[in-house]
Symmetry: C2
Subunit: 217 residues, 2 copies
DNA sequence: CAACTAACGCAAGGTTCTTCGCGTTATAGT
DNA sequence: ACTATAACGCGAAGAACCTTGCGTTAGTTG
């Protein structure tokens, strides 16, 4: 599963410049276009790089997108180190939410989905593994400080998964939502109002309105 | 956000038949092809429907996929009515997990992703709206029986989102996982072992192994 | 600094996709 | 049964995409 199309025998200088130009052009184009409206001739024109070059190096839009995503993990969500578990989680969750809200988040999702059916490989995608590693580090630090962090799985399922879910299906993604998820992860309510709302609250007014529910329903 | 391209002024008879043929062709083609390799001429040939017809009715592959997914909610996860909230939730969660494990699940995800940035519309996708409605019905029934169901948002974030997340990133999706998520939703632990595993258990041996964690990690 | 060659630019040619006008078919309404 | 017309089939024209061979540029090596 080569994310990079070629081992790249001459990776510095012009090649790197071209690659950057092309990546940048894709990002720019995605500001006001759907991924499906993307095409190599378009990227070529926008980037100033010739079509043939792009076809030779990447071959297709999916491959190009994959390469772009793989190239910029630092661009999406750097892992924080604030000294407190809660602040770390907050910062991370908000960073993920931000990255998902932007055009690059969509890209990441798309790339992840693109990698589902090609092979019966079934291993977790590279993005997830990377993210898992980051999170594990964060939790390990908390443990070392004497805190009692949740497991990575809990973090993924209670915080990251809902964020991706919202991004996937067009539900709003924002800092308040992210913080609410962290709250739920860290402070599971002993007694719960079963029939009512999610465990939001804490940390001031989160703009009340349940903008999460479908309006058209 | 019209899921159906047109209000369809003549929805029965030939139109319905054509639509079915085209949908079927798409599903067949996806057995051994990537979505990116899909094209309208291809679908036309396979289905026996003329290109121009498909172009006129759907216009593009993403729209067609969206229509296909929206047309088959019954095909994926019918909403159960067992008489108990827990059994309803279990059944539903398992059904979702099953549908995600199959090829159509990938399709749904894919279609959802493709539809993210079409417009600054930002409304939740049709699939989600449909599913939200189903779930709301289920919860309403529970409430009418005197039970104390969670909110739809909680259900979505604690059960559905993790399932989709796993499917998205190639983590294993199965009945045990689904049931575990329902457990977490219905029985939030009053006292929690913070540093350790998620609230599994209950309902006998679910084949122990925490198949949730990435194997490559 | 000079030779080597990977990677790019260019332009032409082939392929596939998309649109359009017109005639035909079959559904909805009377 | 009969009429009106939405929806489909057909074929061709136009546009967009993709490939390929050759000359040029610019990293890399000695």
């Amino acid at each position: 599963m080569a994310t990079q199309p070629q081992p790249m025998q001459r990776p510095q200088g012009r090649s790197a410049r071209i690659r950057y130009q092309v990546h940048r052009a894709v990002i720019e184009l995605l500001e006001d276009r759907t991924i499906d409206e993307l095409s190599i001739p378009l990227v070529a024109e926008r980037s100033g790089v010739h079509q043939a070059t792009i076809y030779r190096r990447w071959g297709s839009i999916p491959v190009l997108l994959n390469d772009l995503v793989a190239a910029g993990p630092a661009r999406t969500a750097p892992l924080p180190d604030t000294g407190t578990l809660r602040e770390d989680l907050d910062a991370y969750a908000i960073a993920v939410a931000d990255s998902l809200a932007g055009p690059l988040g969509v890209l990441m999702l798309r790339a992840a989905v693109s990698n589902i059916p090609p092979e019966p490989d079934r291993g977790p995608s590279a993005i997830l593994l990377e993210r898992t590693r980051q999170l594990q580090d964060m939790l390990d630090r908390a443990q070392a400080r004497g805190e009692h962090p949740p497991s990575v799985d809990e973090l993924l399922e209670l915080v990251v998964a809902p964020l991706y879910f919202h991004a996937l299906f067009g539900k709003p993604v924002g800092p308040e939502h992210a913080r609410g998820l962290v709250d739920r992860l860290l402070a599971p309510p002993a007694t719960r109002q079963r029939g009512k709302a999610a465990p939001r609250a804490r940390r001031g007014p989160t703009r009340a309105g349940p903008a999460a529910t479908a309006p058209g329903s």
